[in-house]
Symmetry: C2
Subunit: 354 residues, 2 copies
C-alpha cells in the first residue's frame, strides 16, 4: 500500500531508486522533534544526527523547551525550499500513538510539499484528511511499520559483490551499531561500502532497507537477497543483523537473513557479562566460540567461503582500565580482531578484511 | 478477519475448541467436487478420503461425469441435516480461482446452513452476496490461505506432553505423509496421539492447524508453540514439518517450527535418488547423516533431550525387490528404524519410540 503511495509521488528525486522489494525513503529529511520533553524520547533523532547527518537538513520543534539535536531549526516551507523531501518523525511516544495535537503540524508539512516518514504504530492514514492532502500535493505517507514489500522466495543463486553480516549471541547486543561503525570506517578508507538496514531505526538512518522481522517467513531469505543485491566485485554491503541463531523466539529471522545475505564475512557481536538472553532467563547466552561455529555452519549453505572477520565486544560493564586487556585476550583466543565499537579503532578489523 | 467470522457462528460444535492462535475448521465436511474432470484435480478430496474419513460425511458433485471419491452423494440440505457443518472445496482450479459458475452452489450451501472452507487464492468474500448471506445464516467463510492468527513471539518455555516433528532433506519429500502415517499407527496401538498440521492440506485433513509458512517471521516459533500446546505427559503430538534446514529459501520456516515445537523426537524424511533440491539444481540434497546432525544440533536449544527416532525413506524410484535391502541397510548405518511409509509397517519405529 505504502509502496503505491511512494510510487505516486511526482518528481521526487528518490524515485529512480525505488523498488517495491525494498523500502526507499525520500531524503533529505527535516527531523520532527515535536514536543519531546527529554533526550530519551529523541533516541531516533540523535541516531540520525550521529549516523546520517548527510540525510538531515534541519530540525523542527513545536515548543522552545524541546531539546536541541544540533541541526538548524526550520519551518516546513523553508525546509522544502532548501531541498528537504520529507518530515521524519524523530521522537517516540507512548504506545506509538500519533497524538492529536500533532495533526495540524503534519497537515502543514504536507501542505508545504513534504512527504512524511513515520515509525509509529498509528498509521499516518489515521490522521483525518492527511491522505487526501498528500494525494493533492503529490506527497507520500510512509509508515515503516506497516510497509508491505513485494514478496519473492529466495533463489540461493550466488551474486557478485562482497557482503558482511553482523550476527549476535543475543538480541539488542550491538549488531546495528557495529554495522554502522564498520561502514563508516570503510568509507573513511575510501572503500566502497553500503550500510544495509533490516530494522526500523536502521532504515531511517540509511534511507532504505527491509524490516526483515516483519516479512512472512516463507520470504525472509528472498527479502534478504533483495536487500543486498548484486554489486561491483569490490563493493562491500555491510548488513545489519537481526535476532540470534541461538534464540528460542527469533532464530527463524536470523537464519533467513543469514542464508539470503550470503555473507563472505560475519562479525559476531557480544556483550561482556551478559549471562542469559535478554528477557529469557532460562536461556544462557552462548559462548563466542559456539556462536561463531553455528553461524558459520549455517552460512556455508549459501556461501561456502564464509569466515569470521572479527568480534564486536560491548565492554561497557567493565572498568575502563580493564577493557583493552579483555579485547586483546578475546582476539588471541579466537584468532580474529576484537574491538568495542564505542571505544576502539576499527583499523585492525579493516586490515583483516580488506 | 476470518477468525471473527468463525467466532460469530452460533451453536457450531467446534466453537469450544476455538483459539485465534490456531485455525479450527467446522467438521464434519461435505466435500465439494464441483465440476472436476480428472482425479488429478481432486488430490485434496482423495487425501480427505484416505486420511480423514471420520471428518467427511459425503461428497457433492455438480455434474455426473465428475470422478467419485467413494463417499455418499449428498445435497447441501441433506448434508446439513445429517450433521455436516461445512462445505469443503476439495478440488483445485487454475490459479486458485473461484469460478463464477460455482457461485450459485456456494450460495445454496450457505443457505442450507453450511459454512465454507476454501484453500483457493480467491477469497470467499469475493463471491457477490456470500458474505452477507453467511452472516444472516450464522455460517462462517473460512479462507485458509488468508487466515491471520493472533501473533505471539515464542517463549522457549518447556511444556509437558511428548512431541515428534517430521523434518526433511528437502521440501516435498514426505513430511506430511509420514506424520499422518505415524499418527495413524500410534492410534492403532491405542496410544494417545494428535496430528498437528502446518500446511493447507494438512489443516483440511486435521480440521485445525497453523499455516506456518505464512506467519510473519518474528512469530514463527510462537505459532509453533501454539500449534502443539501443553498436553498430558504420555500424549504424542505428531507435527507436520515444513521446508528443510538446509534449504536456501525455506530454512527460516523450518528453524522456527523446530524451535517452537521443542520435539522430543525427530523423524527425517528423504527420497532415495534425489540428487539436488527440488527446483534448486545448484544445491545438493544433504546426506541423511548431515540432515540428522544439523536438525539435532539446532533442536537442542529448546529441547536438550531431542533425538532421532527414525528415517522415512521414499523408495519409489527403486525396483520393488531392492527396497527392503536399502531400508535395512539405512537402518543399520544410522542405528534407527528406517521405513518407507508407502510400503512398510511402522512397528519397528513405534517400538523404538514408545
Amino acid at each position: 500500500m505504502k509502496t503505491d503511495s511512494i510510487m505516486a509521488a511526482p518528481m521526487a528525486p528518490y524515485q529512480a531508486d525505488i523498488t517495491s522489494r525494498r523500502i526507499v525513503l525520500p531524503v533529505p529529511y527535516l527531523v520532527f522533534l515535536g514536543d519531546a520533553r527529554s533526550e530519551a524520547e529523541l533516541k531516533t533523532a540523535f541516531g540520525l544526527r550521529d549516523w546520517a547527518s548527510e540525510n538531515c537538513l534541519g530540525q523542527h520543534r513545536m515548543e522552545s523547551y524541546v531539546p536541541d539535536i544540533g541541526l538548524p531549526d526550520m519551518s516546513f516551507s523553508a525546509a522544502h525550499q532548501a531541498g528537504a523531501r520529507s518530515l521524519l518523525i524523530g521522537l517516540a511516544t507512548d504506545g506509538g500513538k500519533l497524538p492529536e495535537h500533532w495533526w495540524p503540524c503534519l497537515r502543514e508539512a504536507v501542505n508545504s510539499g513534504l512527504s512524511i516518514v513515520s515509525g509509529m504504530h498509528d498509521s499516518l492514514d489515521s490522521v483525518p484528511g492527511l491522505s487526501d492532502l498528500a494525494k493533492t500535493k503529490g506527497c507520500s505517507l510512509i509508515d515503516i511499520r506497516h510497509w508491505q514489500p513485494t514478496l519473492t522466495v529466495g533463489t540461493g543463486q550466488r551474486r557478485p559483490g562482497k557482503r558482511l553480516l553482523t550476527v549476535g549471541t543475543d538480541c539488542a547486543i550491538g549488531k546495528k551499531y557495529t554495522a554502522l561503525a564498520i561502514t563508516r570506517a570503510m568509507k573513511a578508507r575510501a572503500q566502497a561500502a553500503t550500510f544495509r538496514a533490516t530494522g526500523q531505526t536502521g532504515i531511517m538512518l540509511a534511507g532504505s532497507g527491509v524490516p526483515i522481522d516483519s516479512i512472512i517467513s516463507d520470504f525472509v531469505s528472498g527479502a534478504a537477497e533483495a536487500l543486498s543485491p548484486a554489486n561491483a566485485a569490490d563493493h562491500w554491503d555491510i548488513i545489519e543483523g537481526q535476532g540470534a541463531l541461538c534464540h528460542p523466539a527469533y532464530a527463524a529471522v536470523s537464519l533467513g537473513l543469514l542464508h539470503g545475505s550470503q555473507p563472505d564475512r560475519i562479525v559476531v557481536c557480544h556483550q561482556h557479562g551478559r549471562k542469559t538472553l535478554d528477557g529469557f532467563p532460562d536461556y544462557p547466552v552462548p559462548s563466542l566460540a559456539e556462536a561463531i561455529e553455528i553461524n558459520l555452519t549455517m552460512a556455508k549453505l549459501t556461501n561456502p567461503q564464509v569466515s569470521c572477520a572479527g568480534i564486536s565486544l560491548n565492554t561497557s560493564a567493565m572498568a575502563p582500565r580493564d577493557r583493552q586487556d579483555l579485547l586483546d585476550l578475546t582476539s588471541e583466543q579466537h584468532g580474529v580482531p576484537c574491538f568495542d565499537p564505542m571505544i576502539s579503532s576499527l583499523d585492525a578489523l579493516l586490515d583483516f578484511i580488506l
